[in-house]
């Protein structure tokens, strides 16, 4: 798999990470290096092997259905760049 400039642009837009036009070429080259490195894994035959989710052998921890959290709007809104009363305020998005 190889990324070209257009793909890098698209991925950066999807991720909302701005990459300068002048940086596209370099970024593509760097990402391709990483991809190539990871693609070495394709050399291993994994036919019929289940994907491994964890090496610990733990099970997914579960909790009971109790209300144990919340009730601190100030904490939640503390880092908001903008707010109106207890709402986050963002540039208007209308469909």
């Amino acid at each position: 798999m190889s990324l070209d400039k257009t793909m890098v642009q698209r991925v950066s837009q999807l991720a909302r990470i701005e990459i300068e036009e002048t940086q596209l070429e370099t970024t593509a080259r760097e990402l391709n290096n990483i991809l190539e490195w990871i693609e070495q894994l394709n050399e291993v035959d994994t036919e019929g092997v289940e994907p491994m989710a964890s090496v610990t052998g733990h099970e997914l921890p579960k909790r009971d259905d109790d209300v144990t959290d919340g009730g601190y709007p100030e904490k939640v809104l503390k880092n908001a760049p903008d707010r109106e009363s207890d709402f986050f305020a963002v540039p208007k998005v209308v469909e």
Binding site: K62, G70, G71, P73, F87, A89, P91, K92
Partner: protein, 483 residues
């Protein structure tokens, strides 16, 4: 078959599939301990997990898992003992994580079916899958000229996305499907089905084709929040597609919005570019696994579901299939009816619920829950009919009074003196008075004008203000007139 569209070039069939988002009934959220209660002040039911603060880890609510399994069993679906949570990546202000935790290739519930009754009788609708996922926050766009307001209280609440197969062929079938699904979930207690509060929302996939042809290109109408709107949206969208195809144009596969004020659907221009969700397994969550034993335990606890209840009402109570269907659709109605009919005439009880009670509820636009007449009270009224204290006709007046005031049947009958007159001496007095006032008609009757009998009965009833026992009046009148 209904639901076909006659076009210029022939007959078109409408093909519908539904994705229903049902909010899981639970106290706390799917991956956090914040409350799910409706209507709280903004951002008061948000944990740092729901706000997607860095480093916070999701821990699954096992009750929500149980609820999803229950729902799966309620539609006779495969329960997958192992399922996987994935991240569905997209960017929107009400989604602080930048992804929704959902299930993609390995959902918790696989294929199932549900039976609906529509224009063409009973029909099975296939269900493709049910997966668990997080809800997003709520955006408000009309509070400020240049800003949207975001409340994250809903963020992280557990949803079941229930995906049907494209098995429905008309708006009526789609409505029947949603009602049936809602009914089953209410019986199970897994979703309250309250569409006004957004507990049940629906994405509608619509395409059209000439009968026997391959499936056409579909459009998805997002987030329709009432059954009536689902029907309107389907009818509008199917016609739009037929008109386009018949002028030689093609359908763009796209996401559309339903506008309730115009009854039309319109293209959602902006979302298209973002439709690249880049799903991958959520590294914060191990696969969800449980044993078949666990599933069997839940299965053993399932309540009687509407289809079974209906069959029992028909076979044991002798109700018509139609009446039984009406009574079981809502769990609350079925419970009301079962309490009412216990120890009483089953059909009489069914008639009173369906005709009088539903009639009055519809007329006043309220639901059973707001009704002032409870099962116990309506039962006493039926008992008064059964033991001859009041006539069926008077009972309707008493019921009207009960429905208005919430008074008990017994006290209304007593205070208004509505007891049926079954004392033959009293009735004879009434009859004599009527006959002596209508000498000429008595003569006509005796000369062979039999039809006048009904007139005499009517007069006696009127004179008794409806309280005379009609059966006795008939008997006594016959004796008098023929005697």
């Amino acid at each position: 078959m209904k639901g076909l569209i006659e076009g210029q070039t022939g007959t078109w069939e409408v093909v519908i599939g539904l994705e229903v988002h049902a909010q899981v009934s639970s106290e706390s959220k799917l991956f956090s301990g914040a409350s799910t209660a409706f209507g709280a002040k903004p951002n008061t039911q948000v944990s740092l997990i729901d706000a997607a603060m860095p480093g916070m880890l999701p821990v699954i609510n096992q009750h929500c898992v149980r609820q999803a399994i229950k729902t799966g069993l309620g539609i006779n679906a495969t329960v997958n003992l192992k399922s996987v949570f994935d991240r569905k990546n997209y960017f929107y202000p009400d989604l602080p994580q930048g992804y929704q935790i959902s299930q993609y290739k390995q959902p918790i519930i696989g294929e199932g079916t549900l039976t609906i009754v529509s224009e063409d009788g009973e029909k099975e609708i296939g269900i493709e899958r049910i997966h668990l996922e997080q809800d997003a926050g709520k955006s408000m766009h009309d509070q400020h000229p240049s800003k949207s307001f975001i409340d994250l209280n809903r963020s992280g609440v557990a949803l079941m996305e229930i995906v049907s197969k494209p098995d429905m062929r008309s708006a009526v079938e789609a409505a029947a499907y949603i009602r049936k699904l809602r009914s089953i979930m209410r019986y199970l207690g897994t979703c309250d089905g309250n569409m006004q509060e957004g507990s049940l929302r629906c994405d509608v996939n619509v395409s059209v084709r000439k009968i026997g042809e391959e499936l056409g290109t579909r459009c998805e109408i997002k987030n329709v929040n009432s059954i009536r709107f689902v029907q309107q949206a389907i009818d509008y969208e199917a016609r739009r597609q037929v008109e386009l195809l018949e002028t030689g144009a093609s359908i763009d596969q796209e996401t559309r919005l339903f506008d309730a004020s115009t009854g039309q659907t319109r293209s959602m221009r902006s979302k298209e570019e973002a439709h690249d969700y880049r799903y991958f397994p959520d590294p914060d969550l191990l696969p969800l696994e449980f044993s078949q034993n666990y599933v069997d335990e839940i299965k053993a606890e399932l309540p009687e579901l509407p289809d079974n209840k209906r069959d029992r009402f028909v076979s044991e109570f002798g109700l018509s299939a139609e009446d039984a269907d009406t009574l079981v659709e809502e769990k609350a109605t079925a419970e009301f009816y079962e309490e009412l009919s216990n120890g009483r005439d089953k059909k009489l009880a069914a008639n009173w619920v369906i005709t009088e009670l539903f009639g009055a509820l519809n007329k006043s636009g309220i639901g059973l829950r707001e009704s002032k007449v409870d099962a116990h009270n309506l039962g006493s009224l039926i008992d008064l009919i059964s033991d001859g204290t009041i006539s069926g006709r008077i009972a309707k007046d008493v019921f009207g009074e009960m429905f208005e005031s919430g008074g008990s049947a017994g006290s209304i009958v007593a205070s208004k003196g509505l007891r049926q007159i079954s004392d033959s001496r009293q009735l004879t007095g009434l009859i004599d008075a009527v006959l002596s006032e209508n000498h000429d008609k008595v003569t006509e009757f005796r000369e062979g004008k039999d039809k006048l009998f009904g007139f005499f009965v009517g007069q006696v009833m009127k004179r008794s203000q409806g309280q005379a026992n009609p059966k006795l009046v008939n008997e006594l009148l016959k004796e008098k007139l023929h005697g």
